[in-house]
């Protein structure tokens, strides 16, 4: 009988550790009472930002993917609409972060990355709701409110991420 051994590298351990951190922040996020469904600070994105700036896009992609899949399993919403929304938001914000990574280094710090990512997150989720979950419903009256909170969340998360990056 052959015993297969999975070799893990130091990077795997680092990604697992960071994903676990992101998942715990996602839990705090889910536990916070929210006045309107859909308005959340998105604390786990702080981890995505820190990983992106310190270890690059591939690591950030891994951490975000693990967080969305494992986190939603732990919260009991794997493959529910909430999971689909969370995955779409994560993909859209990573796409924007990837596009922004083409800008020359030094132009933007965490805040400049975090706000566009938060807007992309919100836009992808609203689009998904408007096209797939509740087609025909007029979501426009909600857009300014969501945009305001995305801006605020992006700003605060960006500041926290920048602070973590400079102090650790």
């Amino acid at each position: 009988m052959t015993v297969s051994v999975i070799e893990t590298t130091g990077e795997d351990h680092r990604i697992a550790r960071l994903a676990a951190l992101a998942i715990s922040l996602m839990w705090i996020d889910a536990a916070l009472p929210s006045p309107v469904p859909g308005i959340k600070p998105g604390l786990a994105n702080i981890v995505t930002l820190v990983v992106l700036r310190r270890h690059g896009l591939v690591s950030a992609l891994w951490v975000a993917a693990l967080r969305v899949v494992a986190g939603s399993m732990l919260l009991g919403r794997f493959l529910t609409p909430g999971f689909v929304l969370s995955a779409a938001g994560a993909m859209a914000s990573l796409l924007v972060l990837w596009l922004l990574s083409w800008l020359p280094r030094g132009w933007l710090a965490s805040v400049g990355l975090s706000i566009p990512a938060a807007f992309a997150h919100m836009a992808a989720q609203l689009l998904l709701v408007g096209i797939w979950f509740m087609p025909g419903l007029n979501l426009w009256p909600l857009v300014p409110g969501f945009a305001l909170f995305a801006w605020l969340g992006g700003l605060v998360n960006g500041l926290v991420a920048e602070r973590l990056l400079r102090n650790t």
């Binding site: 400049g112 706000i115 566009p116 807007f119 300014p144 945009a147 801006w151």
Partner: protein, 125 residues
């Protein structure tokens, strides 16, 4: 506070201000557009008809595929029937806020709700 301001680079300021401006524009357009006033119906790029929202009525617009029927009732408007294959404008349902529009692309008909403020006519000058 100062410690947090030091965390921002010039590009961050630009992005943050741009984002705030985007939010302000969205609020202005969506929330402060004023009450809906009338319906603008276009066919093939030309204004077919301008109708007030106060009177309930039906507007029938001929297009290349056939007739598009528009219903105005209760200060709202909707496309009741359209010969287009996908029925997107019909499924959109009632529209009532300024700036909202239902567009039947195959039959080249569009219905747009217009608010009071955006209308300028020669009397204003």
């Amino acid at each position: 506070m100062r410690a947090y301001l030091a965390l921002l680079r010039p590009g961050d300021w630009l992005v943050a201000l741009g984002g705030a401006a985007l939010v302000a524009v969205l609020m202005q357009h969506v929330w402060l557009a004023g009450p809906a006033d009338h319906v603008l119906v276009r066919q093939g790029g030309h204004v077919f008809c301008v109708a007030g929202l106060l009177a309930d009525r039906e507007i029938v617009v001929p297009g290349p595929l056939g007739l598009t029927r528009i219903r105005i009732a209760g200060r709202r408007a909707r496309v009741e029937s359209d010969p287009g294959p996908r029925q997107l404008c019909v499924r959109q349902g009632w529209i009532s806020r300024p700036g909202e529009a239902a567009i039947c692309l195959p039959n080249q008909v569009s219905v747009e709700i217009v608010g009071r403020q955006v209308v300028y006519d020669s009397l204003s000058y």
